[in-house]
C-alpha cells in the first residue's frame, strides 16, 4: 500500500498495516525532519524493520540531498541478512508499483570470514585466521614481491578486484552476503574488498555495530561515510556494553609471556634487516621524522590493525624521537613489558586511575606519556616496515600497544584493576590487569557527533530515559509503542510462591535453598505437562543452572519432566549448544515437544528467536542480575553515580530487567504468535522491577497475576492456552490490530493511533 506520512509518500510492501507501524513511521519521520537523534521502543514482531526501511527509503527518495545514506547496524549475522531480505522485498514492491528500475544500491558488509571466496582462506574456521591469511596474501609488500617473484602467492580475487573492480561500480541492486559472494565468483573479484569499497557510494549499508563503534575497525571501514547519513542501531538494548567492550583491554600473564616472544622476534628481524637492507629502516626513520605517518598512502590491505583510540584523539604530529628508531622502540617496548610484569607480581588487589598509572610508570621506569600515546601507531609502522606477514601472531604485542595508547590518551572514564587471583580460587595465582572502560558514551560519541540522525531502537529499551543518560546524547524523539492486539496473545505471569507457600526467589540468600529449587522444579514439571511443543527456560547464570540441574537430577524431577518432553541444555560450548538448539527445534517440529534450559545473557537469549511452536512458554527463573561482586562492575557503578547521577540499584535493576525482557520477548514474534511469559521470582511483583519492563509487557500484567502459586499459574496458563488454540482469523484482527488503507485514513483511527506512542 501507499501511505501518506505527514506529506511523505511511503511505499509499504504489504496490503495491511499494524497501527503501531504507522505510529512508528510518524515518529521516525519527525526525527529525520529534525535532523536529530531518536530512541524508539517497539515490541518485537510488529514489523519494526520493514517500517524503518520503508520510511527511510521513502525519505531518501524524496529528499536525496538531505539524507544520502542509511547505515543500518544490527547485532548478528542472521539479523543482518534478514534486514537485507526485507529490503529486497521493499525494493521489489517499488519496482512493481512504479514500474521503473530501481537505482538503489544496498549491501551487507561482514567480516572476511563470511565473505571470502578464496578456496584456501575461506576454509579456515576462525575469523582471526581468515583475516591473518588474507593479510598474508594481499599486503602491499607481498604484492610488490609478487611482481619480482611470481612464485610468491597472492590472492587472485584481490588482484582482479584491484585491477578492474574499482573502475566499474557494482550495478545497483540489493546484495546480501551470498549475493556478494556470487557476484564476486562471477567476476573473479574479492567480495570483501568490493563490499568495503562499495559502501562508500551505496545508498544503504547493513553491517554490524562494531564497524561503527569499535574504533579499531571503524577507522578502517567507516571513516569516509557521508555525514548526511541516517544511522540506525537495531536491537540496541545492549549498545552500552558493545561500546564498553570495544575499548576495554585485559592483560594476563600469558599475554605478557607471548609478548616477550613477540619482542624477541621483532628484535631478531630488525637485526637481520639491518644487515641486509638497512636502507629500509633508514627510510622509515626519515618518514617518521617528517611526521608522514601514513604518507605513503596506506593501502587498504595494509591497515590491518588500526588505532584503538577514537579518531579525534589521535595526535596529528610526528612520532617522538625517543621511539623513532626501530631498536629504540623495541627497547621501549621491553621496558614497558617488564614494568607490566612487575605490576602483575602482586598479592592484593589494586585499583587505580589512568593518571595514577602514568605517574607510577614514569617514576618506576621513566616512560613518558607522549611516547606511550604513539605506541600503537609506531608498532604498526614497524610491523609494516619489517614486512611481517603473519600479523595474527603479533596480537599480544598489539594488545599491549593498544593498552599503552588508550591509557595515555584517556584520563577519565577508565579504570585499571589488577587482581592477583580469581575470587573463587584464592589459592591459585592468576593475575589479570583489567583496563576497563566505564563510560559507554566515549565510544559512541563520534557517531552522534558525526551523523545527522542516529536512531536507537529495539523491542526492549525501557526505561527509555536511561539510554540518553548513559550514552550522553540529546534525542529529539523518545517514544515507546505498545502492541495493539485483537486478542491478548501474551500472558505474563509472576509466580512468587510454590504450592507450599515458600517464596520463590533467586536472591542470593535463598537461591541454594532446597525448597526454592524444588519449587522451581515443580513449576517446570507442571508447565511441561500443559504447554504444547516448546518451552524455553532461562536461568540467571550458568553456574546457577548447573547447580539446579544437578539437584533436579538428584531429586528425580528431571526424570519426571522427561516423561513429558525432551530436555536440552545450553552449555558454554557454542557448537554443542547449536546442536542442542537444532535438536530442540527438531523435537518441537515433530511433535514430541522439548524444553530448552538456557541462560540469560547467554548467546541463546541474545540471538535466537523462538517463534510459534518453538516457544509456547518462556520461564524466567529468578531475576538475572549481573554478578555484583565484580570489581569492574563496582567501578562502573561508582562512575555512573558520580558522572550521570544514576543510582547503583537503579542501574542494576534496569540491567536485570532488560535482560529478563529480552529473554521472555524471544517467544513472541508477531501477532499471530502466542506465548506464556512466566517470571518465577517474587521480586518481579515489586513496582520498581515491574515498572522497568517494556510497556507492551507491563500493560498485560494484571494485579491478579502478581504473586501466584504454582497451581494458580497452571490454571491461568491452561485457560490462556485453550483460548489461544482457537482459530485466529484476519477478520478478528482487522480494524483493531490490523488495518487496511481505508481504515487507516479514518479520523477515528488516526486519533487512536496517536495514543499508541507514549512519549517519554
Amino acid at each position: 500500500m501507499k501511505l501518506n506520512i505527514e506529506g511523505l509518500l511511503v511505499y509499504f510492501p504489504y496490503d495491511y498495516i499494524y497501527p503501531e507501524q504507522y505510529s512508528y513511521m510518524l515518529e521516525l519521520k519527525r526525527t529525520l525532519d529534525a535532523k536529530g537523534h531518536g530512541v524508539l521502543e517497539m515490541p518485537s514482531g510488529t514489523g519494526k524493520t520493514i517500517s524503518l526501511l520503508s520510511l527511510i527509503v521513502a525519505y531518501q527518495k524524496a529528499y536525496p540531498l538531505e539524507v544520502t545514506k542509511l547505515i543500518y547496524c544490527s547485532r548478528t549475522v542472521p539479523e543482518i541478512e534478514k534486514v537485507v531480505e526485507e529490503l529486497r522485498k521493499l525494493m521489489e514492491f517499488y519496482t512493481k508499483e512504479t514500474g521503473e528500475k530501481n537505482n538503489f544500491l544496498a549491501l551487507a558488509l561482514s567480516s572476511r570470514k563470511n565473505l571470502c571466496i578464496h578456496p584456501e582462506v575461506s576454509s579456515l574456521r576462525f575469523g582471526k585466521e581468515v583475516d591473518g591469511k588474507c593479510h598474508s596474501l594481499t599486503a602491499s609488500y607481498i604484492r610488490a614481491q609478487h611482481h619480482s617473484n611470481p612464485s610468491q602467492p597472492v590472492c587472485r580475487f584481490y588482484e582482479e578486484f584491484d585491477a578492474v573492480g574499482r573502475q566499474v561500480p557494482i550495478p545497483s541492486g540489493i546484495y546480501n552476503l551470498d549475493d556478494l559472494k556470487d557476484f564476486g565468483r562471477k567476476k573473479g573479484w574479492c567480495p570483501y574488498y568490493l563490499a568495503r569499497y562499495s559502501i562508500l557510494h551505496a545508498n544503504i549499508v547493513v553491517y554490524s555495530y562494531h564497524y561503527l563503534l569499535d574504533p579499531k575497525i571503524a577507522d578502517l571501514v567507516s571513516k569516509e561515510l557521508a555525514k548526511k547519513s541516517v544511522v540506525v542501531f537495531d536491537e540496541a538494548h545492549n549498545i552500552d556494553n558493545v561500546c564498553i567492550d570495544s575499548m576495554s583491554v585485559n592483560i594476563t600473564r600469558r599475554t605478557l609471556d607471548r609478548c616477550q616472544t613477540n619482542v624477541d622476534t621483532l628484535q631478531n628481524t630488525i637485526q637481520r634487516i639491518k644487515e641486509t637492507d638497512a636502507a629500509k629502516l633508514r627510510e622509515e626513520y626519515r618518514r617518521l621524522v617528517e611526521g608522514l605517518k601514513e604518507a605513503n598512502v596506506a593501502r587498504e590491505t595494509d591497515i590491518y590493525l588500526s588505532n584503538p583510540v577514537l579518531p579525534d584523539e589521535v595526535l596529528q604530529e610526528a612520532i617522538p624521537g625517543s621511539i623513532r628508531t626501530a631498536e629504540h622502540f623495541v627497547g621501549f617496548l621491553k621496558r614497558f613489558l617488564e614494568y607490566l610484569k612487575a605490576r602483575l607480581r602482586i598479592h592484593h588487589v589494586v585499583q587505580e586511575s589512568s593518571p595514577q598509572f602514568l605517574k607510577d610508570i614514569y617514576e618506576k621506569v621513566c616512560i613518558d606519556r607522549k611516547p606511550l600515546r604513539f605506541c600503537a601507531e609506531r608498532l604498526r609502522s614497524l610491523l609494516r616496515t619489517l614486512e611481517i606477514a603473519d600479523i595474527a601472531d603479533f596480537s599480544p604485542i598489539t594488545l599491549i600497544s593498544h593498552f599503552a595508547t588508550l591509557v595515555s590518551t584517556y584520563s577519565k572514564g577508565f579504570t585499571i584493576i589488577i587482581e592477583p587471583f580469581e575470587d573463587k580460587t584464592p589459592t591459585i595465582a592468576n593475575p589479570v590487569l583489567h583496563f576497563s572502560c566505564m563510560d559507554p558514551s566515549i565510544a559512541i560519541k563520534p557517531v552522534f557527533e558525526r551523523f545527522q540522525s542516529v536512531v536507537i531502537t529495539s523491542g526492549t529499551l525501557s526505561p527509555l530515559d536511561i539510554y540518553p543518560r548513559i550514552l550522553d546524547f540529546r534525542p529529539v524523539t523518545m517514544a515507546s509503542f505498545t502492541m495493539t492486539l485483537a486478542r491478548t496473545c501474551l500472558c505474563p505471569l509472576i509466580v512468587g510462591r510454590g504450592n507450599d507457600q515458600v517464596a520463590m526467589s533467586s536472591k542470593f540468600e535463598t537461591r541454594e535453598d532446597f525448597a526454592v529449587i524444588r519449587n522451581y522444579g515443580n513449576l517446570l514439571l507442571e508447565m511441561s505437562a500443559i504447554v504444547p511443543d516448546g518451552i524455553v527456560a532461562f536461568f540467571t547464570s550458568y553456574v546457577y543452572m548447573e547447580n539446579i540441574v544437578a539437584s533436579w537430577y538428584e531429586q528425580g524431577i528431571l526424570e519426571n519432566i522427561q516423561r513429558n518432553k525432551l530436555i536440552f541444555i545450553e552449555t558454554p560450548d557454542a557448537a554443542e549448544t547449536s546442536m542442542a538448539l537444532e535438536k530442540y527445534q527438531e523435537a518441537c517440529e515433530n511433535g514430541r515437544g522439548a524444553i530448552l534450559l538456557s541462560v540469560a545473557r547467554g548467546k541463546v537469549s541474545e540471538g535466537i528467536d523462538f517463534v510459534h511452536h518453538f516457544g509456547r512458554a518462556v520461564i524466567m527463573f529468578g531475576v538475572p542480575y549481573v554478578y555484583t561482586q565484580s570489581r569492574i562492575l563496582k567501578a562502573r557503578l561508582e562512575y555512573l553515580r558520580d558522572q550521570f547521577q544514576i543510582r547503583e540499584n537503579d542501574f542494576l535493576t534496569f540491567d536485570a530487567m532488560r535482560h529478563a525482557a529480552q529473554c521472555v520477548g524471544r517467544a513472541i514474534r508477531g501477532k499471530t504468535d502466542y506465548g506464556l511469559m512466566i517470571f518465577a521470582d517474587k521480586r518481579y511483583a515489586r513496582a520498581d522491577k515491574r515498572g522497568k519492563l517494556p510497556r507492551w509487557i507491563q500493560e498485560h500484567i494484571s494485579d491478579g497475576s502478581l504473586n501466584l502459586t504454582i497451581d494458580e499459574t497452571v490454571q491461568l496458563s491452561k485457560h490462556f492456552l485453550r483460548q489461544m488454540a482457537q482459530p485466529f482469523r484476519r477478520e478478528d484482527q482487522l480494524g483493531l490490530s490490523l488495518l487496511t488503507l481505508e481504515q487507516l485514513q479514518s479520523e477515528e483511527m488516526l486519533e487512536k493511533i496517536s495514543q499508541i506512542a507514549q512519549q517519554a
Binding site: 548478528t76 522485498k89 570495544s246 557454542a574 547449536s578 515433530n590 514430541r592 508477531g670
Partner: protein
C-alpha cells in the same frame, strides 16, 4: 560356484562330514564344505538359512559343530585335526556367532513381514491357503510379486502403522526398589530393554558381544546398573567395567555430532557474531576456567548427558521414518562435510530467511500452504480404478473419443414422441418387470445370493480371487521378452490348468449337481 568372487573368511582343513575328509570354508554369505581332492562343494548353506549352531560338549572326544537349518535339516562337521581341532572349531564357532545374527535378522524380518501381511489381510491369507497350501504355486512365486507390491505400497502410504517412539523417561521407569536386605531390585521389561538398545546402540553391541557366553543376561544388566555409565553423575573412578567403552563411544558420537555442525544457519551460534572481539579485548574475561571442582565437573557431565540422551532418543525415533519430506532432510544428504557445503547452503538459508521475515497477517491471500500431490501414475489418478480387463485397455484417448461419440449421438437424438407408449402402460410394465412383480415372480432372476447358501458363495469368492491372482501372475509375464519370463509363462499356464482341474472342476460339478436350476449364471461366472 567358486568362480563367484566371494571373500573367504576362514578355511579349516581336515573337517569330516559324513565320514569324508574335506575342507570347511566360511564365506561372507554362506558356509561351504568340499571333500578333499575335489574342487566343488558338496555342502553349501547360506547363513540366512541357518537357524542355529550347536557344538559338542567340551569333554567329548569328537569335536563337532552342528548347523541346524530353518527347514529342520542339520549338517554335522567333525573337526578331525587332532592337535588343533578344538581351536579350529572355536574359530569357526566364533566367526559364525558374529555372522549369523546379521543374516538372521534379515531372514527373520522377511518372515515377520510376510506373517504380518497374512495376518493383517484375511483375503490374502485365504489366497495363500488356496494357492500355496494346496500347492498350486510355490510360496516363493506367491511372494515374489507380493513383496514388491507391498514395498511400493509401504513407501507410498508411509506405512500403515506408525513406529512407536521411545519415551524420553524410559530410564526413569526403572525405579530401583529395595528388596529389604540391603539390595536393590530393578524392574526391566522387554520394552525398556528395547528402548535402551535403540537409544544406545553401544550397549546393544556390548550385549551382543557378551551375553550368551561371557555373562548371563542377568549379570549383564546388573553390571549395567552398577556402572557409572548408568549413573552418569558419578565421575568415572577409573575402575574398568565393560561400559566404560560405551561412554567413550557416546562421547565420540556427541563430538561428531557437534563437529558436523548444524544445518539451519539461523541457530548456528558459531557464526552468529559478525566480528568477535579479539582475545584480550572486552570487559569480561571469559578465559578458560581450568580450575573446576569435581562437583562442577560432574554437573556439566549431567548436562552433557541430558543433551546426548535427548538427541539419541530423538534420533531413535527418527531413524525409522527415513524419508520425512521436509526440505531439511533433503539437503542433509547433499551437504557433506560442513565447510564444503558452502555451495549447498544458500537454498535452505534462503528458505529460513524468508520464513523469518514473513508476516502472514500483513499479506493478502497467502492461503494455507498446500502439499504437492505426489502421483506415481497420474493417469490412474485421473481415471480412477479401471476393472482389470486382460484383453483390452481403453486408453484415455479412446475414452475421450467415445465420450465425443456419445455426445454426438445424443445431440442427434430426436425423441419420437408419437411412438411412445402411454405412461400408464409403461409404469405397469416396469412394475411387472421389477423383482416381485408379475413377470419376475417365478423367474430365475431372483438374487443369486438368496438362492445359494453362503458357504458356496464364499467358496466361489475365494475361487474367484484365487483365479484372479493366478491370472495376475500370468499376465504380469507379458510382454514376454526374456527367456526367464517365457519359462514363467509356461509354468503359469500349467499352474492355471492345474488350478482348473483341481479346484474349478470339482466345484463346477458340485454346483451342477446341487443347483441345476441356477447354474447357468454361476457357471458363466466361474468360467469367466
Amino acid at each position: 560356484m567358486a568362480a563367484l568372487s566371494e571373500e573367504v573368511l576362514l578355511v579349516v582343513k581336515r573337517v569330516r562330514q559324513r565320514k569324508q575328509d574335506g575342507t570347511l570354508y566360511l564365506m561372507t554369505e554362506r558356509i561351504a564344505w568340499g571333500p578333499e581332492g575335489k574342487d566343488r562343494f558338496t555342502v553349501s548353506h547360506l547363513y540366512a538359512d541357518i537357524r542355529c549352531q550347536k557344538i559338542s560338549p567340551d569333554g567329548k572326544s569328537k569335536i563337532q559343530l552342528q548347523l541346524v537349518l530353518h527347514t529342520g535339516e542339520s549338517t554335522t562337521f567333525h573337526f578331525a585335526n587332532e592337535s588343533t581341532a578344538l581351536k579350529d572349531r572355536d574359530a569357526a564357532k566364533d566367526l559364525l556367532q558374529q555372522l549369523l545374527p546379521k543374516f538372521k535378522k534379515k531372514a527373520n524380518k522377511q518372515l515377520e513381514e510376510k506373517n504380518k501381511m497374512l495376518q493383517e489381510d484375511p483375503v490374502l491369507f485365504q489366497l495363500y491357503k488356496d494357492l500355496v497350501v494346496s500347492q498350486v504355486i510355490s510360496a516363493e512365486e506367491f511372494w515374489a510379486s507380493r513383496l514388491k507390491l507391498s514395498s511400493v505400497e509401504h513407501s507410498l502410504s508411509n506405512n500403515s502403522k506408525q513406529e512407536v517412539g521411545i519415551s524420553a523417561a524410559f530410564l526413569a521407569d526403572i525405579r530401583p526398589q529395595t528388596d529389604g536386605c540391603n539390595g536393590l531390585k530393578y524392574n526391566l521389561t522387554s520394552d525398556i530393554i528395547e528402548s535402551i538398545f535403540k537409544t544406545y546402540p553401544a550397549v546393544k553391541q556390548k550385549y551382543a558381544e557378551n551375553v550368551p557366553h561371557n555373562l548371563t543376561e542377568k549379570e549383564f544388566w546388573t553390571r549395567f546398573f552398577q556402572s557409572h555409565y548408568f549413573h552418569r553423575d558419578r565421575i568415572n573412578t577409573g575402575q574398568q567395567d565393560i561400559f566404560s567403552e560405551c561412554a567413550k563411544q557416546d562421547e565420540k558420537g556427541l563430538k561428531s555430532m557437534v563437529v558436523q555442525g548444524v544445518k539451519n544457519p539461523m541457530v548456528d551460534l558459531l557464526s552468529l557474531e559478525d566480528k568477535t572481539l579479539d582475545e584480550g579485548y572486552g570487559s569480561l574475561t571469559v578465559g578458560p576456567n581450568s580450575s573446576k571442582t569435581v562437583k562442577e565437573n560432574s554437573n556439566s557431565a549431567i548436562i552433557k548427558r541430558f543433551n546426548h540422551h535427548s538427541a539419541m532418543v530423538l534420533a531413535a525415533g527418527l531413524r525409522k521414518v527415513d524419508a520425512p519430506s521436509d526440505q531439511a532432510s533433503e539437503t542433509s544428504s547433499t551437504d557433506g562435510n560442513s565447510r564444503d557445503s558452502d555451495f549447498f547452503q544458500p537454498p535452505i538459508k534462503k528458505v529460513k530467511l524468508q520464513e523469518a521475515i514473513e508476516y502472514e497477517d500483513l499479506q493478502n491471500g497467502s492461503g494455507p500452504k498446500t502439499i504437492a500431490l505426489n502421483l506415481k501414475k497420474s493417469d490412474r489418478y485421473s481415471h480412477g480404478p479401471v476393472p482389470l480387463q486382460s484383453h483390452h485397455y481403453s486408453t484415455s484417448q479412446d475414452i475421450i473419443n467415445s465420450v465425443n461419440c456419445i455426445q454426438e449421438e445424443i445431440s442427434c437424438y430426436k425423441p419420437c414422441l408419437t411412438r411412445v407408449m402411454p405412461s400408464s402402460a409403461a409404469s405397469s410394465a416396469i412394475t411387472a418387470l421389477s423383482p416381485g412383480g408379475l413377470l419376475m415372480q417365478a423367474g430365475t432372476q431372483q438374487a443369486v445370493s438368496q438362492l445359494v447358501p453362503t458357504d458356496v458363495q464364499s467358496e466361489l469368492k475365494h475361487l474367484y480371487t484365487a483365479a484372479g491372482e493366478l491370472l495376475r501372475h500370468f499376465w504380469s509375464c507379458f510382454p514376454v521378452n526374456t527367456p526367464f519370463l517365457e519359462e514363467k509363462v509356461v509354468k503359469m499356464r500349467s499352474n492355471l490348468e492345474r488350478f482348473q482341474s483341481t479346484k474349478l472342476r470339482p466345484f463346477q460339478e458340485k454346483i451342477q449337481r446341487e443347483y441345476l436350476s441356477t447354474n447357468v449364471r454361476l457357471l458363466l461366472l466361474v468360467n469367466l
